[in-house]
Symmetry: C2
Subunit: 931 residues, 2 copies
């Protein structure tokens, strides 16, 4: 006995996707929600497979079932299929469980024939519309159902338009369309050797059969094989009454959002056109009316419309984007779906709906994509304006730090600093930046480099500072000496010319393009507070100075996860002492230079500790190789060779030669893998000792003034446990000594970065000497992949993404299979050795939502990211916690439809039967209510 093959819309629900297809289940759900959905029915997916299995024949009895369902539609619509006086027209659409390319789409207006079309013309008093519907039916039927293609039909229309001298379809008058109907019928006969079927039931049967056939084409089979979709699912067929918004002044059509999709305001946002069909809205030829016009014109319809919007939100528990039509004074809802929205709107809607008790906090949090929050935190290019102006970017590089800014191009850090401090808006343009460009970057509105990836120095610093940055814009020819750059199209930008840099898209514009302000507000704050309640993962920030620290606290940071000390060494007034220390040949000179740096470092830390108000501050001891603090070799070479060739300035030559020798001594083939981090600390312990002294002196200073302070000293680049134990022993002595001198005890921790694969692999022994681990996933990614971040993104990662070798840059989102495996293993083995081991992440990944989720899953204590990504991390952490608990649940109090059981899909027919038998219970409910 076959299962029920044809379901009226009002019989189904959204959980019957297997049986009714996505579209059918959706139409059923809307109907079930009590919405005025045009009547119709669905032929099940199982029937389609029956058809295929039976050798492409209609199963026995199907046509009767269809006719029965159609009779129900006729009854409810009070129209008749094929009756010229009061014609019911229907659409036929396929609707499988999974959307599939190549499947039959849509045939509209079935039920028209030579006679019915005249009736429709009369009924609507719109012959143009009626003939247009008919000629479209003939074309669609011929093309979609019979497979002829539609070129000949389109040609015929073009010929008429040409003859009449009109440009648009809607300018073709009724008479010409009537003529086109005749031509179309001729074309049909020419192609198919038979007349266009005048019997509506023949049309309908053919259309349903065509949908079934489209499931079993070779193309569809190949697609399913490649996607692993079973062949025996079949597609459903939806047959639905057509409604028309163009049947006179009491008709119309429109689209509506139940709340404002750009601001989130709880206010219906709708546009509609009087006496028009959906296509007219899309074509945009007439200006739509505001929804208030509807309120004035049709107050009762408007009331119903508002009620429906409310009902929709209550039913779907989200802001809806709906299509509606008014046909002769009757409102119909054609489609509804969750509406797309801006980040700001998403946040407001989520917060409001929690207040309205429509959704739970968890649901609200799951409704906003963490990455979209970025929009709320930076200025951005006004794309609409730019589009209108027709402005095109000069070049496109990597979108390395979000936000947009305009400024005048400058080509070195000193000029940037000078002009920037003089109040000009400057944008620093370099081939790439190094730590000694920092002073120039800090005063710039944005940074542009022609080399380097998203984790290049420029990108990292820019993100840390919230500066827009386009990096690795390789198509630009950067001519620093000539103080200009040239775009790939030959456009030249000279120093002082205005440019606009969009770090969100990677675009670089000549001149100033319009920008829009970031959207921040109390809703955003409220939203993030909800996230904080739900998340388990801590969120810290990467910040190197008090300003950043304060900004990060504003963004919700709970501590500093990474305070780099190298930028402190780069300040112009300190660099001489730093270089003196580097060039020192003996202990005494070294000590003298370090003594100069000590008070400055102490002040740095006092500032940061004060800004953080007792929150933990993880300070990384000096990490980069020393040569980064010396002048560039090529500059010295240029001066040296030039002087030598001219035979000039022997003394200066000797000086340069000495400097060169130093630089060469420090030179490394692969500085990334060289003397830096703890290696440097072990070779030149004085630097670390000075830093620890400065940290503890600063901490003592705060403590003496009654302030809270929680320093965590981080030893970088550990690969061998003995490195850590040696350095720690040496530095513990310094810390103890300082506390003795100061007569104050402060609590401090020692820990290490896990950024060398070997450290991760030997975490058990390392944890015995570390109170915390901080995963430096930038370096860990570099070494685990064997990628140099300064080169890889520009040189091959882009190609890898194009070729599909990488799905995502491992510098953007943590590579779970490789790098992640090391992190997981390290956390596990580290905690086995020291159960209270604090584990955090301080690589760029700390601000990437997918990576944050990973960090949550492997049980990290916190993530740390740049201040402007803190809100993103807070939300991502909350979402991770929600996902872990099996997803968001609706609020207990919310009105919600009883969820249909999963098994219903398979046992739909018997269930239906049970439902019918349940009628007495319904009565009981009514009785209960009436009490």
């Amino acid at each position: 006995m076959a299962e029920k093959r044809v379901w009226l819309f009002r019989e189904g629900n959204k959980d019957l996707k297997d049986l009714l297809g996505g579209k059918g289940a959706n139409l059923a759900e809307m109907t079930r929600a009590g919405l005025p959905v045009p009547y119709g029915f669905t032929v099940t997916t199982a029937t389609c497979w029956e058809y295929v299995e039976a050798g492409h024949k209609f199963p026995k009895g199907l046509l009767d079932d269809v006719k029965k369902a159609l009779a129900d539609v006729e009854k409810r619509s009070k129209k008749q299929f094929g009756n010229p006086k009061n014609p019911l027209l229907v659409s036929v659409r396929s609707g499988a469980k999974f959307s599939m390319p190549g499947m039959m789409d849509t045939v509209l207006n079935l039920g028209l024939n030579d006679e019915v079309v005249e009736g429709l013309a009369e009924l609507t008093a719109n012959p143009r519309f009626a003939y247009d519907c008919y000629r479209r039916l003939i074309m669609m039927f011929s093309d979609v159902v019979k497979g002829t293609g539609k070129d000949d039909y389109e040609e015929a229309l073009e010929a008429i338009k040409h003859r009449l001298g009109v440009t648009f379809d809607y300018d073709v008058p009724a008479e010409a369309l009537k003529e086109l109907v005749d031509t179309s019928k001729k074309i049909y006969k020419k192609h198919l050797g038979e007349d266009f079927p005048q019997d509506p039931m023949v049309q309908l049967e053919a259309a349903i059969g065509a949908v079934f056939e489209s499931w079993d084409t070779p193309r569809a089979r190949t697609y399913r094989d490649s996607e692993g979709i079973p062949h025996n699912l079949g597609t459903a067929v939806n047959v639905q009454m057509m409604v028309f918004g163009n049947t006179g002044e009491d008709s119309g059509t429109g689209v509506a959002f139940t709340r404002d999709p750009s601001t989130g305001e709880k206010k219906i946002f709708a546009e509609f056109l009087l006496n028009a069909q959906g296509e007219d809205v899309v074509a945009g030829v007439r200006t739509p009316l505001d929804i208030m016009a509807m309120a004035k014109r049709w107050p009762s319809i408007y009331q119903e419309f508002v009620a429906i919007c409310k009902q929709l939100e209550t039913h779907y528990r989200d802001m809806q984007d709906m299509e509606f039509t008014v046909e002769r004074g009757k409102l119909w809802v054609l489609q509804t779906r969750n509406g797309k929205r801006t980040a700001g709107s998403a946040v407001k809607i989520a917060v409001d709906m929690v207040k309205e008790k429509l959704i739970s906090v968890e649901e609200a949090l799951m409704r906003v994509g963490p990455a979209t929050l970025d929009q709320l935190l930076h200025k951005r290019v006004d794309r609409d304006q730019v589009k209108k102006q027709g402005t095109k970017p000069v070049a496109v590089g990597l979108n390395a730090s979000p936000g947009a800014a305009a400024g005048i191009a400058v080509f070195d850090a000193d000029t940037a600093a000078a002009r920037g401090e003089a109040g000009e808006a400057v944008i620093l343009c370099r081939i790439e930046t190094t730590p000694d460009d920092i002073h120039g970057m800090l005063v710039s509105k944005a940074v542009l480099t022609s080399r380097g990836g998203k984790t290049s120095h420029a990108a990292v610093v820019a993100r840390g500072k919230g500066l827009p940055c386009v990096a690795g814009c390789e198509s630009l020819k950067m001519d620093l000496a000539g103080r200009k750059f040239t775009g790939p199209g030959g456009e030249v930008v000279k120093e002082g010319d205005w440019i606009t840099v969009d770090g969100s898209s990677g675009e670089v514009y000549a001149g100033q393009v319009p920008l829009v302000d970031p959207e921040i507000g109390k809703d955003f704050q409220a939203f993030l507070k909800m996230a904080d309640k739900v998340r388990r993962l801590g969120v810290r920030t990467n910040a190197d100075e008090p300003g950043d620290a304060a900004k990060a606290i504003e963004m919700g940071a709970e501590g500093i996860g990474l305070c780099r000390t190298e930028h402190m060494f780069m300040a112009p007034e300190r660099l001489p002492a730093v270089q003196e220390m580097i060039l020192a040949d003996d202990e005494e000179t070294t000590a003298k230079a370090l003594a100069k740096l000590l008070p400055m470092q102490r002040e740095d830390f006092i500032g940061i500790f004060e800004a953080m108000g007792g929150r933990p501050v993880t300070i990384r001891l000096l990490d980069p190789p020393l040569h980064e603090f010396l002048p560039h070799k090529e500059e010295i070479l240029e001066e040296f060779f030039t002087l030598r060739a001219k035979g000039e300035k022997k003394a200066r030559q000797a000086e340069l030669e000495a400097m060169l020798r130093r630089i060469e001594q420090l030179e490394e083939s692969n500085p990334m893998l060289g003397v830096r981090g703890c290696r440097l600390g072990l070779l030149r312990p004085g630097i670390n000792e000075m830093q620890v002294r400065a940290i503890i002196e600063a901490a003592c200073d705060l403590k003496k003034r009654g302030k809270k302070v929680a320093p965590e000293i981080m030893i970088p680049l550990i690969g061998i446990v003995t490195e850590l134990s040696t350095v720690r022993t040496q530095l513990e002595a310094v810390a103890q000594q300082v506390m003795k001198e100061q007569g104050v005890k402060v609590a401090y921790k020692f820990g290490t970065m896990i950024e060398i694969p070997r450290a991760a692999l030997t975490s058990g022994e390392i944890a015995e000497h570390a109170e915390f681990f901080s995963f430096g996933t930038n370096d860990l990614t570099q070494m685990t992949f064997g990628y140099s971040r300064d080169d890889a993104e520009g040189k091959f990662i882009g190609r890898y993404l194009d070729m599909g070798i990488l799905a995502e840059s491992p510098f953007n989102s943590i590579d779970e299979a490789g790098v992640g495996r090391l992190v997981e293993l390290s956390v596990k083995e580290g905690r086995a050795a020291r159960p209270d081991l604090k584990c955090g992440i301080c690589g760029e990944h700390g601000g990437d939502p997918a990576s944050v989720e990973f960090c949550h899953r492997v049980g990290l204590s916190y993530v740390s990211c740049s201040p402007f990504r803190v809100p993103i991390a807070r939300l991502a952490a909350a979402q991770a916690a929600i996902k872990e608990q099996g997803g968001a649940q609706p609020p207990a109090v919310a009105a919600k439809p009883a969820p249909a059981k999963k098994t219903a899909t398979k046992k739909a027919a018997p269930k239906k039967a049970t439902a019918k038998k349940a009628t007495p219970k319904k009565t009981a409910t009514k009785r209960a209510r009436s009490k």
Copy 2:
């Protein structure tokens, strides 16, 4: 009831180390072997701990046990302790299970007093000897037992020597020594407020107590804590009869090896001095006599001596180094131990002893240190000659490739090539070498660099070629432009001056120092064949050209594990085509350049395949970054800036600028982590395609000529499975195409290097696309540690070794905790995915014995190393297999003492009892023999 506290030597055996200490067990074992060991006894380690626990008091009854044992010694020696007529003198020595610094050492000549010394003088007719013994006893007793130090005693001796005007102790006459005895007694009284004890038993008791005390000093406790040695072990005390070789013309003393320690010849090698004590032999003041002199003088003693040598070898089953003394015609063996020997001797002895059925093949193989084989494969500095000449090295660098060579210093590869090809012995001296120095290296006798580690380019190439190399000789100032180098002492070596480079020690000499030839021979061959029978691990070689391949086969290689193709690209006649290809802007130029290279590559592979005669050849596709094939940037910069400053040659300036731009395009911050290996292959697929074409064309060529060939194509630097699948798909197509063109089918494999940590971590999925894995442990070590091999060894690994942060450079021996863990995981997960996955290692570690053992343990299929390390790997692999099976077992037929059970240590006393009861069984054995 206390356990037996005092053991006569004849009661113990070598397995009682826990109870008797190492020394005591050894003396017991010698006695047990029937050797004429001076009689004595051991006070057990347990007694020492009893003493400590009892509050530093002799356990009750101990002194009686000692006296009883002493009586036994008196009886056997026919001497009496304290009897001036026939005095027994004894030594007291400590002997713990583990040797420990700070423990009491030795007191000799106990039993002497004012009376006995006169008797001894008379008995030996050597008053000088007697007084010298006595004054030494007083000094040692005072110092060692009473802890006074010996400065005052030494001073008194010096005063006498000064007064007499003599230089050496042995020139001090008897009378003066008698006087020194008196002075010594006064010093003793002054220090200790009592007379030197005249009662020999008091002397003995005090000496035993002092040994016990030395176990429990704070210094000893601290040491044991740091080494994790339990405190309650205690030390044993050995009391042994003194024998004297200086009691007249019927006495003497000497040392002997049971076989020749330098050649291994089965011939006793001994030296002895008539009428002398051991010190005299050590002092080297009299020329010792040949052993044949003993044969002539004392034929019967000589017979006994020869018999003892044979007995010793039979008992210890190894060549012995023994000390002996003849006291008044009686031969005593004082000490015996396995003799130290040269590698050549070790090999010969091992082979001979197997033939003699004295040891098993496995034992023979375990007797030779694999690393020592290196001596047999290279010339070396004649240390004796150099010492005699008093020649000192100019500087010492890293011993990067073993062997020594002399030649004239040259400072660039072209000069080396020119003068070398003209027949001069040249040594290439560079700051560091690069692939384009290869032609100069190949004609050099040795290579010297002032920068770079043991895995620097120079070192790797040199080892591959068997060339001596001293690398990273940082104390040399290398002045390439000045064509000279200057040593740290100011010595200048100019181009054309002779130098000698010792790559085994790292020493660099000015001039020519005497060298000795490598020792190779049939014993060595026989020895390695034994190894081959035992080992499970395959041994391949790293070889890039037919010459190396042939050499490696001679050394026993079973295939090529790594054939690098970059050296082929470096040949001077090819470089232009290679550079043309690199500089090409379009497909066509690239293709043209590659077409030039194709026939050359094909010839390369034909040559190698032929040399390998069907053995597998793993060819790595081009790996290094392309910039390595271009000129050095600094050279171009020098020319460019010089021309510009002089305003000369505009055209050349433009040309240089263009070249610079190219170089800059290819420039990378960390080339090690940049575009190379499969990354290069994916960006410029033409290179790989040309190489695979050349490989398969070469293979087809051999096949057509009826020759066997087994190419294995290796794709380097895989980190992501999709890299491998993409490259492999593309190259399989080339291989298939070539075979179609050639009309021949050849079997080939595709595999990958595992040298990126991520590859190891994702081995399961990678193995699905690879038929073999080859662990590139050089790069894997670099990335797992985050070390750049070109910098790390020179810049910080040395310091790390000094500081104890590293126990060994991870580039020398595989780091099991980190790199090894990745290898193990990779093998396991790779084989889980593909059970027949062939796994090898082709890093430098393939020739390091400890690493070979690791490779065996984790189940690799083979190791691959440079040709000259193949024999080392063969032996190391055999030893690994033997260790895995629980160590070497003696041959079934060999006479061997029944091994004492472990439990004997704790239950020594009852066991002894059992042994006594077993006497009837012994008789039974005798009876059986007599049949």
